[in-house]
């Protein structure tokens, strides 16, 4: 009976109206709106008419039109909740397999969601402890030289800019300037504690809400040579915090002018965890006006790399206005440095943690890229788990529809059925939350340990707010997963269902689901295979033959201590087999370079890599000499006169016709010194195992033991822990200030490939995740199709088909899907690694048959297991059971 069947008002608006409107007002209202709509269609066109209709519907939402909540209905819902929970519980228990798979699937994907929530909570908690955090802005700078601009802004500014803003720009309430590198060993009497911090001006405590326990916040950082310690630092040095006015010496180097006396003018509360600025102490910026008075760079306009400037702006300040005055300032100051332009801009402090990825951050930040990628990833994972739940529940509709039919026949409304199914899915998602919470606790340390910066940034501590958010998240997931099954079941026609089961609307979108399954399996195969390939690379690099041995060598960083003393003490340990010294550890990504003159062409100098070693270094590391001899030990400091070169040097400069024997005795000029070649060593990997140069770096070994920064200690021990603690004890005797920094060579190598390890972890977790989700999707499909084919199977059985045959018939379709998935996934992975990824990294291991097929076989095995168990269940049913009813 529609007047204009072709032009009708938007359906959802009509529905909305009939939902909220009192029944006795509804008809008239609808009629009026229809009449106006028809009028408007003629006068103003369909679009405008629809818009007016919608606005009118919304405008009619008034006190007198709105339907009062029907208490009876609410009461029924309330009474029935108990019943819903009970039936849901029964259903969950009855279908243990389904429930388990659903719960596990949701749990796994939800754990990613929990991780994201916890991470976002942490990130958004950053810097909120500052009372005026909304009004604090950081000045950032962009460097342009000769019209060539840097890619992005730096978080730092020049001191000059900071001072100029302070003096000449209006509309700034307060300014805090921090300058890097106020660090060193704080010495008081016998105590010597290494601490780090910043130089800061007196605005520090006005802009930020760091609390001073002692001292005057307004003046603490005013006078030169003032120092403010955190509570923790003060306790470390003095064991108490009532130390105002005492003086300490900051030891920053060996020269006397690097060690100055500072007066303690303040003790502040420790820096909160969620502060993007972290420090142990602050020194007054005015100190630098004294110490750096001669330094011409200090106040230069283009020296934008060392200071951070934070502004506290009054309530109503226009950022644009301020940036305009910055532009004026730049215009003036650019004159002082030729060809340079520095652009200044503002960044709200609340954006620092999660915003733009700037260079030169004051501490570690997350940046929006990571947050965005992670959010999208978790959204996809959670959504696909929800979709699977939906699929699976609808696939099982044959079982549940009779129940729904009976419920409806005895008077359940649509909304009751919807409620029931929503409650069921929420219960399942809450159960999943319990598991995913466990999973969350389990993966948390792995996640944080993936990268050092994550450990510094995030705490992921549980708080009541976080737990509540988790529960809300679980409920949301439950509703999201359950809404479609609920709507589906609520539409079931009771009479039809009770009369004939096959009257249920047959599921649409089977093709879509097949595509989804192929896609999911494809991704899981890719993820597994990629992880295995990366793992192979990782292992390959760890076991890589560098051309010398790294086995059982503990590298101890000297940290400025005298090598001789430590060496003597260590040598007395029975486990120590030998000690050598070097200035750097090779093959872990350290490159030290100097210039060497070409002996055949005095004008040609070439960069060569070097290491400074003692006479024990080469034998200890098993470096092979091709000719000549090792260095001879010499007592005391001598002039550098001898050198050992590798074959590459002979080859590159064509020394002595590249004959190692003849090269002995030749004199080469390295680092402006004439050195005699006393030995020629075999080439080795000076750089990392994945360095493109491989063993072809030109390396000279120089004999300068007194320059050593590392001791290489060869250890033969059965109890590593004990040996390590022995070494630690010796270290403490020699250097009580700094903790021992010692690592096994192999550990150091492993550390340089940490990125690979992290991506392996992420990859395997992702693979696990996707497989779980894909399995659930597949299971839904298998169950759906076997249950719909139950009658076919029964008839086949009556006619004598055996189980194997049935199994084949039922699983054929799925096998095809899996094979398609593999046929796409494997070549894609192979091509990606072979053509894109591996050529980028040098000295890689080839992709083997093993890696390519393990993933495939595992995924196939899992999928087959599921198909076979489900189809077998159907194939084994007694045909009489099913056919009897007809």
């Amino acid at each position: 009976m529609k007047a204009h069947p072709e032009i009708s008002p938007p359906r959802w608006a009509t529905r909305l109206l009939s939902w909220y409107c009192k029944p006795d007002l509804l008809e008239d209202l609808q009629g009026d709106l229809n009449e106006y709509f028809a009028r408007n269609v003629e006068e103003k066109g369909v679009r405008q008419a629809r818009l007016i209709y919608i606005i009118d519907v919304l405008k009619f939402f008034r006190l007198y039109t709105v339907r009062k909540p029907e208490f009876l209905n609410l009461l029924i819902h309330w009474i029935m909740i108990g019943s819903y929970i009970r039936t849901s519980g029964r259903n969950i228990v009855r279908n243990k397999l389904f429930s388990a798979i659903n719960i596990i699937g949701l749990a796994i994907s939800m754990s990613v969601g929990l991780l994201l929530i916890a991470m976002l909570m942490d990130l958004f908690a950053y810097d909120k402890f500052h009372e005026k955090h909304e009004r604090i802005y950081r000045v950032k700078s962009k460097y342009t030289f000769n019209n060539k601009s840097d890619h992005g802004f730096m978080a730092t500014t020049s001191l000059k800019a900071a001072r100029a803003i302070d003096e000449s720009v209006t509309g700034v309430e307060d300014i805090a300037i921090l300058h890097r590198d106020f660090s060193g060993d704080v010495t008081f009497g016998e105590q010597k504690i290494p601490l780090r911090g910043f130089w800061a001006n007196e605005g520090m405590f006005k802009v930020f809400s760091f609390q001073l326990l002692q001292g005057n916040p307004l003046t603490a950082l005013k006078a030169p040579f003032s120092i403010v310690l955190t509570e923790k630092s003060a306790l470390k040095i003095f064991g108490e915090i009532n130390v105002l006015g005492k003086t300490v010496i900051l030891h920053r180097g060996d020269k006397p002018e690097q060690n100055r006396e500072y007066t303690i003018t303040g003790i502040m509360k420790d820096v909160p965890v969620f502060s993007h600025i972290k420090f142990d102490m602050l020194g007054s910026l005015s100190t630098r006006e004294v110490t750096e008075a001669e330094n011409k760079q200090e106040m230069k306009w283009d020296n934008i790399w060392h200071a951070w400037t934070y502004l506290l702006l009054p309530e109503e300040t226009s950022v644009e206005e301020l940036e305009k005055s910055f532009a004026k300032l730049s215009g003036k100051e650019d004159m002082t440095v030729p060809l340079t332009h520095i652009e200044l801009a503002l960044q709200p402090m609340d954006d620092i943690m999660t915003g733009e990825d700037l260079g030169n951050q004051i501490g570690t930040t997350m940046g929006d890229t990571v947050v965005r990628i992670f959010s999208i990833l978790s959204f996809i994972v959670v959504l696909s788990a929800c979709l699977n739940y939906t699929n699976l529940s609808i696939a099982r509709s044959f079982r549940r529809s009779r129940e729904v039919g009976i419920r409806k026949a005895i008077g359940a409304l649509k909304s009751h059925v919807i409620n029931q199914f929503l409650i069921e899915s929420v219960i399942i998602s809450l159960l999943a939350l319990v598991f995913s919470f466990g999973l969350f606790l389990l993966i948390k340390p792995h996640f944080l340990g993936m990268e050092k910066s994550l450990l510094e940034l995030l705490v992921l501590d549980l708080s009541p707010v976080l737990v509540v958010t988790f529960i809300l998240f679980a409920i949301l997931v439950g509703v999201l997963a359950g809404i479609f099954p609920a709507l589906f079941f609520s539409r079931i026609n009771a009479v039809k269902v009770l009369k004939n089961l096959s009257a249920i609307p047959v599921l649409k979108g089977v093709t879509v689901r097949k595509v989804m399954i192929v896609f999911q399996y494809c991704i899981s195969i890719i993820a597994i295979t990629a992880t295995l390939i990366i793992q192979k690379q990782y292992k390959h690099y760890l076991a890589y033959d560098l051309g010398f041995t790294t086995e059982n060598i503990l590298n101890v960083s000297l940290q400025g201590n005298k090598a001789e003393l430590l060496k003597k003490e260590l040598a007395e340990l029975p486990e120590v087999r030998g000690i050598s010294q070097s200035v750097l550890i090779t093959s872990i990504g350290n490159y030290w370079g100097t210039m060497m003159k070409n002996p055949h062409d005095p004008l040609d100098s070439v960069g060569v890599n070097y290491n400074m070693i003692d006479e024990n270094y080469l034998p200890l590391h098993d470096h092979k000499l091709l000719a000549g001899r090792n260095f001879k030990g010499s007592a005391g400091k001598t002039e550098e006169s001898e050198v050992i070169v590798n074959m590459e040097i002979l080859k590159h400069f064509n020394i002595a016709g590249q004959d190692p024997e003849k090269a002995i005795g030749e004199v080469i000029r390295v680092d402006r010194k004439d050195l005699t070649i006393i030995g020629v060593m075999k080439n080795f990997n000076y750089g990392r195992a994945d360095d493109g140069n491989g063993r072809n770096n030109k390396v000279v070994m120089r004999y300068v033991p007194e320059q050593a920064q590392w001791l290489n200690v060869k250890i033969n021990s059965t109890d590593w822990l004990e040996t390590y603690s022995k070494i630690e004890n010796i270290w403490k005797k020699i250097d009580p200030v700094h903790p021992l920094e010692a690592k096994f060579y192999e550990e150091q190598i492993a550390q340089t490939f940490q990125g690979m390890k992290a991506s392996m972890k992420v990859g395997s977790f992702l693979a696990f995740l996707i497989i779980c989700i894909a399995s659930i999707g597949l299971l839904g499909m298998v169950v759906y199709s076997t249950e719909t084919r139950l009658r076919e199977v029964s008839i086949r059985k009556v006619f004598g088909a055996d189980e194997m045959r049935l199994l084949f018939i039922l699983s054929r379709g799925f096998l095809l899907l899996l094979i398609i998935a593999a046929a796409i996934g494997l070549p894609v992975t192979y091509l990606f690694f072979e053509a894109v990824f591996l050529p980028e990294i040098a000295n890689h291991a080839p992709i083997g048959f093993f890696e390519m097929f393990v993933g495939f076989v595992t995924v196939m095995g899992l999928a087959l297991l599921m198909i076979v168990t489900q189809t077998l269940k159907v194939a084994r049913t007694n045909p009489a059971e099913d056919l009897r009813g007809d």
Partner: protein, 110 residues
């Protein structure tokens, strides 16, 4: 019980209903109002007033026959009750009294 006094707009709407006699339903009232006061009357406002008038007992309504023009929805016709009529007469009396007391009312140039 709400107050029983008649607002200015309510009065106009009530009069319109009375004037339209047997054809007084929301849209018609709106159109008529637009004609008489010369500015568009919003449907939502008119509806709210009709609802209030009914609550106060000045009008009563009943649903008419279904017609094709309104998407099959019936119109709600309003008629002025005796109470409504009394209220209208009372308002008019008050005004008349006041008018009578004014000796002369013409627009003069100041």
């Amino acid at each position: 019980m709400k107050g029983t006094n008649l607002g200015e707009f309510e009065e106009i709407v009530l009069l319109t209903i009375a004037a339209l006699v047997s054809d007084a339903y929301s849209v018609a009232i709106c159109d008529e109002l637009e004609k008489s006061i010369g500015r568009p009357a919003k449907l939502g406002v008119v509806h709210a007033v009709l609802n209030r008038l009914e609550e106060k007992g000045y009008v009563k309504s009943k649903l008419g026959e279904a017609t094709k023009t309104r998407g099959g929805k019936r119109k709600r016709y309003y008629t002025v009750t005796n109470g409504g009529k009394a209220a209208l007469i009372k308002v008019r009396e008050v005004r008349d009294q006041l008018w009578n007391r004014i000796p002369e009312l013409t627009l003069k140039k100041a």
